[in-house]
């Protein structure tokens, strides 16, 4: 059940991603519709984060290509935003909430330019949207998990991009934050933005997303949520590993085989 759409915002063609030559994602073919809330769902180690990182060109692909807004990623960097996993940074870093949100404006500023008044306003507005304006001067080390997540979200909002990739934004946050975030994501969708969210909770997935991608080392399904979250497809996603697949992956690494033959 892999549905393709016309005029996709994200088009992934035959994407294979390897760590140390061992493929962790095999041959993903994927198109995502514009203006939707997309959930990427699968068990631990299924390659969810790997998929969005490879789409954003943070990880090299061993085969295939990605197009966003029908352009190579390098052309559209300023239209893309990313909310990394909360644990990926050091929250003891000496910075204030406002400093972090202001980072969202750096991409558009270019080299050597300092943030202007307009950038600061934008950052402040983004903080208001996540309900954190009163924390602007707070040190990030003093925030709770949910607040940290909101700060990250505000940074992405300040960037005012067209497509957002979020890695587990609901992991380890309180209920209030979770509701606030999903409200915000819905508003963003209403404004025509596309939001792609890595998510691990099946219960809430059906309610949150209008398009769902099921992943487990390969693409199992991609389509409107109500058609994708079926017993059968979920069993395929969560039911056991493909032993042959991971064995072949191990062989590729050990033998130092190229994942793809060079065209000679």
């Amino acid at each position: 059940m892999i549905l393709h759409v016309d005029n996709p915002v994200v088009e992934v063609h035959d994407l294979t991603v390897s760590y140390d030559r061992k493929p962790v994602l095999w041959g993903v073919d994927l198109t995502l519709p514009a203006g939707s809330l997309v959930g990427v769902i699968g068990p631990n180690g299924a390659g969810k984060s790997t998929l969005i990182k490879a789409i954003m060109d943070l990880l090299p692909a061993s085969s295939g290509y990605v197009r966003i807004f029908d352009e190579p990623i390098k052309q559209v960097r300023n239209r893309i935003s990313y909310v990394p996993q909360r644990e990926s940074v050091d929250w003891d870093f000496p910075a204030s909430v406002f400093d972090v949100v202001l980072m969202g404006r750096y991409g558009n500023l270019g080299l050597f330019n300092r943030p202007r008044k307009a950038d600061k306003d934008a950052a402040m507005q983004a903080l208001e949207k996540v309900g954190m304006q009163s924390f602007a001067n707070r040190q990030i080390s003093q925030l709770s998990g949910g607040q940290q997540q909101r700060v990250f979200l505000a940074r992405a909002l300040a960037q005012n991009a067209d497509i957002y990739f979020m890695d587990e934004p609901f992991a380890g946050v309180d209920i209030a934050t979770e509701t606030a975030i999903i409200e915000l994501l819905r508003t963003m969708r209403a404004q025509g933005k596309t939001v792609i969210v890595v998510h691990h909770d099946l219960q809430s997935a059906g309610e949150y997303f209008d398009w769902t991608v099921l992943l487990n080392m390969r693409l199992v399904a991609s389509g409107p949520t109500e058609q994708v979250l079926t017993q059968e497809l979920l069993e395929q996603t969560y039911g056991g590993k493909l032993t042959v697949l991971s064995k072949v992956g191990d062989l590729l690494r050990k033998q130092e085989f190229p994942t793809r033959e060079r065209k000679s």
């Binding site: 085969s63 493909l242 042959v244 072949v248 062989l251 000679s264």
Partner: protein, 427 residues
């Protein structure tokens, strides 16, 4: 050459002592270094080495003598203290481990230098020679010093052998060690103590800055040659000993040369050569493996082409010309000819006046490649839901790598299929 013979006849008692001394120092620190390396705490040795200096100076100030035992004790105390401080700072504040190491290392060293220069300027005649801790002087290891340090080195080696099993588990899996009731805390303490001792002793040979190399470098080099800890320890000891001897030799032939840096230079060269040339893990071996893979891919591709040509008319053993073979696939002609002559030598094909033909063995191998290709395509479409027009590329690689066991497993999982996703027969 004359010097070489002179040196290695060990006729001179002095040479004998110096050599034995450096060998013991270098190999005992190499053995302990293996464990610190595997514990991923390679740089800790560096910190201890620098922190030893204030201890030596303080011991001298307090006692007023250069008795090696007393100096050793002083060195041991501050070396130990530095490790405890590093752990304390990292666990109690938000300072990260590498910052803590850098800080403790340089501050202790600063204190040491302050004390050392202060002693030197005080005009105390007994002080001369304290600064050999800075750069080490393997060549001046004689008499009492040698006996003390030699004894410590031997003690280190024996302790390591006695606690081999426990230390091994500690390095491999701490949580498991804890769960089966190993005294992990005491073992860590033991390893720390061993490290400090190794450093205190090794500094005699190479000095403060380069001590880290004596711990890490032989261990890192040995790691490239073996997958077994016992062998790794022995190898590291041998590499350490070798560089120790070389260092002693250098200081014999050129007394003006600093011994420590030469020992380190030699050990580093051994390590870099190991990174490059060790079998399996080495860089060259990996390049060779890749080359070998390329050749294998080429050969199997050619056999596959023969087989596919044969499939068209169910006639596998007829002659094919080069153009014939290359119609389906674009392989550069010289490359193809090379591959063909190799295949001929191996007996997979025969040369005929107007081309080549498969032998029985060639047909079997070609058939297997074609079968694996189609099996993998089928696997990808069935299990990974890939579109059938995307699976060919993947299968082009995987067909060369699947082992007979995996092939069997594939057959089972696919229920012994007859047709591939393009509805071609699986041979």
């Amino acid at each position: 050459m004359k010097e070489f013979l002179e040196f290695f006849s060990f006729a001179d008692a002095n040479i004998r002592y110096v050599t034995i001394g450096s060998v013991l120092l270098a190999s005992s620190s190499a053995v302990v270094g293996c464990f610190t390396l595997l514990r991923k705490r390679a740089l800790v040795g560096d910190a201890v080495a620098h922190s030893v200096l204030p201890g030596v100076c303080l011991a001298f100030i307090v006692s007023g003598t250069k008795n090696p035992l007393i100096l050793l004790f002083g060195a041991f105390v501050t070396g130990w203290l530095s490790l405890i401080l590093i752990d304390y700072i990292t666990s109690r504040s938000r300072i990260k481990e590498d910052t803590a190491i850098g800080l403790v290392l340089s501050v202790f060293f600063g204190i040491g230098i302050l004390l050392l220069t202060s002693i030197q300027h005080s005009g105390n005649a007994a002080q001369s020679g304290l600064d050999k801790f800075l750069f080490g002087k393997a060549a001046s290891l004689v008499g009492e010093d040698l006996i003390v340090f030699g004894a410590v080195a031997v003690l280190l080696l024996i302790t390591t052998i006695l606690f081999y099993k426990e230390l091994k588990l500690l390095c491999f899996d701490v949580t498991f060690a804890k769960s089966i009731g190993f005294p992990v805390r005491s073992l860590e303490l033991l390893l720390t103590t061993l490290t400090v001792f190794a450093v205190v002793v090794g500094i005699q040979a190479v000095g403060v800055v380069l001590m880290a190399a004596m711990l890490i470098t032989p261990a890192a080099a040995a790691r490239f040659w073996t997958e077994r800890l016992g062998v790794m320890l022995a190898l590291a000891a041998v590499i350490g000993a070798f560089s120790g001897i070389s260092g002693a030799f250098v200081s014999y032939t050129a007394p003006a040369m600093p011994t420590g840096p030469w020992i380190v230079l030699i050990v580093s060269m051994v390590a870099i050569l190991s990174f490059a040339f060790a079998p399996k893990r080495g860089w060259v071996a990996r390049m060779l493996r890749r080359r070998h893979n390329k050749i294998q891919i080429l050969e199997e591709n050619l056999l596959k082409l023969f087989y596919q040509l044969g499939e068209q008319h169910e006639d596998y053993f007829s002659n094919r010309t080069l153009d014939n073979i290359l119609t389906r696939r674009n392989i550069p002609k010289t490359q193809a000819l090379n591959g063909l002559s190799k295949l001929k030598r191996q007996g997979y094909i025969q040369r005929h006046p107007d081309g080549w033909a498969l032998t029985r063995e060639g047909e079997i191998r070609g058939k297997r490649v074609v079968r694996l290709h189609r099996l993998w395509e089928l696997y990808l479409t069935q299990y990974l839901q890939l579109a059938s027009d995307h699976v060919h590329e993947d299968a082009e690689t995987i067909e060369h790598i699947i082992t007979p066991e995996l092939e069997q497993k594939l057959m089972e999982e696919l229920n012994y299929p007859a047709l591939d996703p393009h509805h071609t027969k699986i041979p």
